[in-house]
């Protein structure tokens, strides 16, 4: 199975990258951009074929390694 994981910064946590991109879009002439937040995206290829088990495994991977849960949230999608 394939897991798709989005890791985003928690609300309120400063996102210097998003801020810089926002500024750059402005100077490139893109108007109407109210905000940009940058996160990470992972595609994980799993041998597991059981959906629930796969999801549980990926959740554990996120908690242990993939996300920094001090400042980040994550969302998992199993396909």
């Amino acid at each position: 199975m394939k897991a798709k994981v989005k890791v985003t910064l928690k609300n309120g946590v400063l996102d210097p990258q998003g801020k810089a991109i926002e500024g750059a879009l402005g100077s490139l002439g893109f108007g109407g951009v109210n905000g940009v937040r940058q996160g990470k995206y992972f595609e994980i290829d799993l041998a597991e074929t059981d959906r629930a088990k796969a999801e549980a495994a990926v959740k554990a991977m996120c908690d242990k390694l993939i996300a920094n849960t001090v400042i980040e949230n994550y969302a998992i999608e199993i396909a």
């Binding site: 210097p16 990258q17 810089a20 991109i21 750059a24 100077s27």
Partner: protein, 220 residues
């Protein structure tokens, strides 16, 4: 030999580069701020190292789209010499002046150390004072210097002798393909490299291996 050094917010090796250029060519380079739209009349433009815009998004991505880069690109296409070092290499590559891309070091860590740099092509305006195959000591200091490109591009780069610098065996600090440390464009007027020759030109730096590179600018 008149030169200009382009400065973006977050660039931090512009002083190093300007000192090196002045010490070796006898001319003080002009600093050009990124918001300017036209380069002064010079023989060489250098895009120095640093962390332009924090290297946020991708290294060099935001700087590559600054106003001054439009003119740098236009003049480069007309043959103006352009040297990009470290972040500068990333910037001119992002700007499309050189093929390929620079991605995260294979070891995933920033690395600052002296490497052995083999001069593969000594027929360029930057390498004409060193022997082909010469091995120079030169420091690197980067987190994203891993040069990659597609197979065709690689074949052409190698076939056209456009790999200017290569890390000597066992010296590749970042996993770059074919140990590539520096490349040039087809016309030969644009050169990009990850190592910092400007930090290896006087006795204080421990060695002066890279001084001839800058001295070569005078001959070119």
């Amino acid at each position: 030999m008149k030169s200009a050094v382009v400065v973006f917010p977050g660039i931090n090796r512009e002083r190093d580069m300007m000192l090196a250029l002045e010490a070796t060519t006898g001319h003080k380079p002009v600093a050009v701020w990124h918001t300017e739209t036209e380069l002064p009349k010079v023989d060489l433009v250098v895009v120095p190292g640093g962390f332009s815009y924090g290297d946020y998004l991708r290294c060099g991505a935001i700087a590559a789209r600054s106003p001054i880069m439009t003119d740098v690109r236009a003049k480069a296409l007309k043959g103006l010499k352009v040297l990009g070092v470290c972040n500068g290499f990333q910037i001119i590559t992002e700007a499309g002046l050189l093929p390929g891309a620079l991605v995260r070091n294979a070891g995933l860590r920033f690395v600052c150390r002296e490497v052995k740099l083999k001069v593969e092509n000594n027929k360029t305006w930057f390498t004409n004072r060193v022997a082909k195959g010469a091995v120079l000591s030169c420091p690197v200091a980067h987190g994203e210097g891993n040069y990659i490109c597609d197979a065709d591009t690689l074949k052409r780069l190698e076939g056209d002798n456009r790999v200017v610098f290569r890390y000597a065996a066992g010296s590749n600090p970042n996993g770059a393909m074919n140990d590539i440390a520096g490349v040039m464009n087809e016309a030969g007027n644009v050169i990009g490299m990850m190592p910092h020759p400007e930090n290896m030109i006087e006795p204080l730096h421990g060695k002066t291996d890279c001084r001839p590179l800058f001295e070569g600018l005078l001959a070119a």
